[in-house]
């Protein structure tokens, strides 16, 4: 059975690297999380405020260049703005990935990926390419070791979420604006907050609660100058009832929405929904009921304190047993591979867009995960079967055999690399196969394609 540190690195982290010591166990993992998030400083991304400015400018220039009297200078400025956005989007994407690859605290990175998936967004607005990195930096990472209610509020009110789930166009039908413009409700965000972000689809809510929450949410918009803005003149007047509780009065305020989000965060169904998701994500597609109960209880007893919740997860006996019940997602697979290959951060960050597509983002799509393009707000699948289909595995095998030799020259000695990449998780079958391989390329390929490297 693998050592605890193998579990901390592979099951709870982003993989083993020779130049990083994996956490020795739960105590160290939790202590690391108490530290500040150093990776956001080391690998910075742009902020939403910058992106908004560029996006507004792009839209303005696009309009101007379509006019009959558009000058060449306008055309040039449009192309320059588009180019700048593309450059920043790519840089944000690489920096975002670099955090997971180079962090000494893999658990924080995996939690970041988990919560980013829980609060999935997909870029919609013009000029926001690659902005998932911005969203994760601003709405998710600051709250990883805090209260769930704070993360919920940050994610649900982030302009990129309001944009993705159509909140920006939802209008109270009886609001001043709604009456004048004959606009109305859009229940997309309200439904997903109940179904995905808080209670879970099995939770005790009805269509009426969805509609009421959608009415309560009206007023949250994105201002083209300042970003998030609560605009009372588009908010539905009057109080709303969600899960039997009344929010607000005649005059709409953001604090009413915040109160509802706080209550939803602390709801027992939310505790259970989140606990189950955590256990499914980190441990097993068929979670142990007792473990889910323990994690949910810790969440409830601490009123949604995430550190206490993770503590219950990590201190459960099953946390460090039965290695390899889950499949790494394609992004986790690639991150852990680059980590093991010890590609210097400088080389990774200086990758050209075409090469990054050829080595990472294209292969990732072939493995079934189109970067930043999940099919729905429920994020990526958890089940092992979803990733280890014949076509998904074929892409992993082909990547393993073809790409490492192109990004790490020369390839390391395979027998030594086996210990680096898998420590004591390597099986005798793999160890033997690596030892009889004809080429280093093939041996390294076998390591990356192996069940033990693809499971966690």
């Amino acid at each position: 059975m693998p050592d605890i540190s193998t579990y901390t690195a592979i099951r709870f982290g982003t993989g083993i690297a020779d130049n990083q010591n994996p956490a020795s166990g739960p105590v160290e993992m939790l202590a690391n999380l108490e530290q500040p998030d150093r990776m956001t400083d080391r690998f910075p991304t742009s902020g939403f405020a910058d992106r908004l400015k560029m996006s507004v400018n792009l839209i303005k220039l696009r309009k101007a260049r379509r006019k009959k009297n558009a000058t060449e200078e306008i055309q040039a400025r449009f192309y320059a703005q588009r180019k700048e956005i593309r450059k920043i989007a790519f840089s944000d994407t690489l920096n975002h990935a670099a955090r997971a690859i180079y962090s000494p605290d893999g658990f924080r990175e995996r939690l970041g990926m988990f919560w980013a998936d829980h609060f999935t967004i997909r870029q919609r607005g013009d000029g926001y390419q690659g902005s998932q990195a911005v969203y994760v930096t601003e709405a998710i990472r600051p709250h990883i070791a805090g209260r769930f209610a704070d993360m919920l509020r940050a994610a649900v009110t982030h302009p990129l979420m309001l944009d993705y789930l159509d909140q920006v166009v939802s209008v109270g039908p009886n609001s001043k604006f709604g009456k004048a413009k004959k606009r109305g409700l859009n229940e997309n965000l309200a439904r997903e907050v109940l179904e995905l972000h808080t209670l879970g689809v099995g939770g005790p809510y009805t269509q009426k609660d969805v509609t009421q929450l959608a009415e309560l949410f009206t007023g949250m918009t994105v201002d083209r100058q300042t970003g998030f803005k609560f605009q009372p003149n588009v908010a539905e007047p009057g109080a709303e009832r969600v899960l039997g509780r009344k929010y607000g009065g005649w005059w709409p305020r953001m604090s009413h929405i915040e109160a509802a989000l706080e209550d939803l965060a602390l709801h027992p169904s939310t505790a259970r929904h989140l606990a189950r998701k955590l256990v499914v994500h980190f441990i097993s597609d068929t979670p142990d009921k007792g473990m889910v109960d323990d994690v949910a209880a810790a969440y409830r007893d601490s009123e949604g304190d995430l550190m206490a919740t993770y503590g219950a997860l990590l201190n459960h006996p099953l946390a460090f047993q039965n290695f390899g019940q889950k499949a790494k997602r394609p992004d986790e697979f690639l991150i852990s591979a680059v980590r093991a290959l010890e590609i210097p951060a400088k080389s990774f960050l200086s990758l050209k867009e075409r090469k990054a597509g050829q080595y990472f983002f294209g292969p990732m799509a072939a493995m079934g995960m189109r970067h930043q393009r999940p099919t729905g707000p429920d994020g990526w699948p958890e089940e092992l079967d979803a990733w280890l289909s014949p076509q998904g595995l074929a892409a992993r095998i082909q990547w393993s055999m073809a790409v490492p030799g192109q990004i790490r020259k020369p390839l390391p000695d395979a027998n030594a690399f086996l210990k680096v990449a898998l420590a004591d998780a390597a099986s005798p079958d793999l160890t033997w196969a690596v030892s009889v391989s004809e080429t280093k390329r093939e041996a390294i390929g076998l390591i990356f394609a192996s069940p033990e490297f693809n499971r966690r």
Binding site: N188, V201, Q358, G362, P390, Q391, D429, V436
Partner: protein, 405 residues
């Protein structure tokens, strides 16, 4: 160790239980093909297609009032004087005229009330009813259909694309592949991988199927690609491969051979705002996929039925953003030469407020499973009892709507 002796060693290892030939999937033997001549293509439309916009009940006196913004500027194509087609499906009108296109209106799965895409799709693909909690069933109805027919080869059914398709998942063996996927390995790498995988059934079976398919699909006479070239090709085409037309072309190529059933999905039908734009983009995609199937299948098209189904319909009334929200009663789209088409099947419930489901959605008056069941019975001779007891447990098939000619 010399190369020769290493190979000898490997050969010994192979005989020890992980040989290529020993694995049933690895051999290139010809599978017994199904006795069927008919072909069935199932397309899952994810996101909730607005059936009321796709096939518009212009003859219903209440319809126009629900859709002032959606109907403005959108030209409807008359079908039968009562229903009219969304202009995005215009390319399918010749099929309608030829009796090769049909619809079933106001249908749904038994899923009600929560209107979740994800539970809705799970139930659609599981083919189950109220009595089974979402996610409890691990096989899809199309897989259970295969389970009821003895002696089918693994080639009989093909799941196409990079997305997981639960409708075909289950114990009956099916093929899974994407048109963009390749696998180029040296014989040595292949044997070693076999060894590394032989104790892990998930990896062993997926890799065996992958190698077998990659071998079978390689064009004879073509220079084999290097692993690097194959990866590059795959990386470049993986994004494009999600395109409905390439999935359709790949499915058609399989259906020309031993495959009788193919399934794939087209995502992106969730239209909460500016529906005109989104549905205007999606409808031609589905049209092109259907037309591509027809073209590629040639004479086989006459024995083919395409069923496109979605997790739910959308609200009768447009919302405040020229879109529609999650609803209940929806639409099935049927195409193929095997149809007795040019008809809109189903029982129209009407659209006055009292006739709506929860005063909000088109009332479902028929079950998607019943219509699909009759199609499978008339095409493949599947027994009614198998349909009612195992493929769609608990379904009430009702009377045969006579969809198949």
């Amino acid at each position: 160790m010399s190369i020769l002796s290493r190979r000898g060693f490997l050969k010994g290892a192979a005989l020890g239980g992980c040989s290529l030939a020993a694995h049933p999937l690895m051999t290139s033997m010809t599978f017994a093909s199904a006795a069927w001549e008919q072909r069935l293509v199932v397309i899952i439309l994810r996101g909730g297609l607005d059936g009321l916009d796709a096939v518009r009940p212009l003859g219903d006196p209440n319809f126009a009032a629900y859709r002032p913004r959606l109907l403005k500027k959108s030209k409807s194509l008359d079908l039968d004087g009562y229903f009219a087609l969304h202009p995005g499906f215009g390319a399918l009108m010749p099929l309608w005229s030829a009796g090769e296109l049909a619809f079933v209106h106001a249908v749904s799965t038994p899923y009600r009330n929560k209107r979740s895409h994800f539970d809705g799709q799970d139930i659609l693909e599981a083919g189950t009813g109220f009595d089974v909690p979402a996610g409890a069933v691990r096989d899809g109805w199309l897989n259970r259909m295969l389970q009821t027919v003895p002696g089918l080869s693994a080639q009989t059914a093909f799941s196409v694309g990079l997305d997981e398709l639960k409708v075909l998942a289950g114990p009956a063996e099916v093929r899974n592949w994407s048109p963009s996927t390749q696998l180029e390995l040296t014989p040595q790498s292949r044997l070693l991988l076999e060894h590394v995988y032989h104790r892990d059934p998930v990896f062993r079976d997926a890799a065996a199927e992958a190698m077998d398919l990659a071998d079978g699909l390689r064009v004879e006479g073509d220079e084999p690609l290097s692993g690097e070239e194959a990866m590059n090709d795959m990386a470049k085409s993986a994004f494009k491969a999600a395109g409905a037309e390439s999935l359709a072309a790949f499915a058609a190529a399989r259906l020309r051979e031993e495959t009788r059933i193919a399934a794939f999905s087209i995502n992106g039908w969730d239209t909460h705002k500016n529906q005109g734009k989104t549905i205007g983009k999606m409808t031609p995609r589905l049209s092109q996929a259907i037309l591509r199937l027809k073209t590629e299948l040639g004479a086989i098209w006459n024995k083919t039925t395409v069923i496109a189904m979605t997790e739910f319909g959308r609200t009768a009334a447009e919302n405040g953003n020229a879109g529609t929200d999650h609803g209940t009663g929806g639409l099935m789209i049927l195409a193929g030469g095997a149809l007795s088409g040019a008809r809109v099947f189903g029982q129209w419930p009407g659209l006055d407020e009292a006739s709506l489901y929860q005063r909000r959605d088109l009332m479902p008056t028929g079950d998607i499973r019943a219509h699909t069941g009759w199609i499978m019975r008339d095409m493949f001779g599947i027994e009614k009892s198998a349909l009612e007891n195992s493929i769609f447990p608990g379904v009430d098939l009702g009377r045969n709507p006579g969809i198949i000619a």
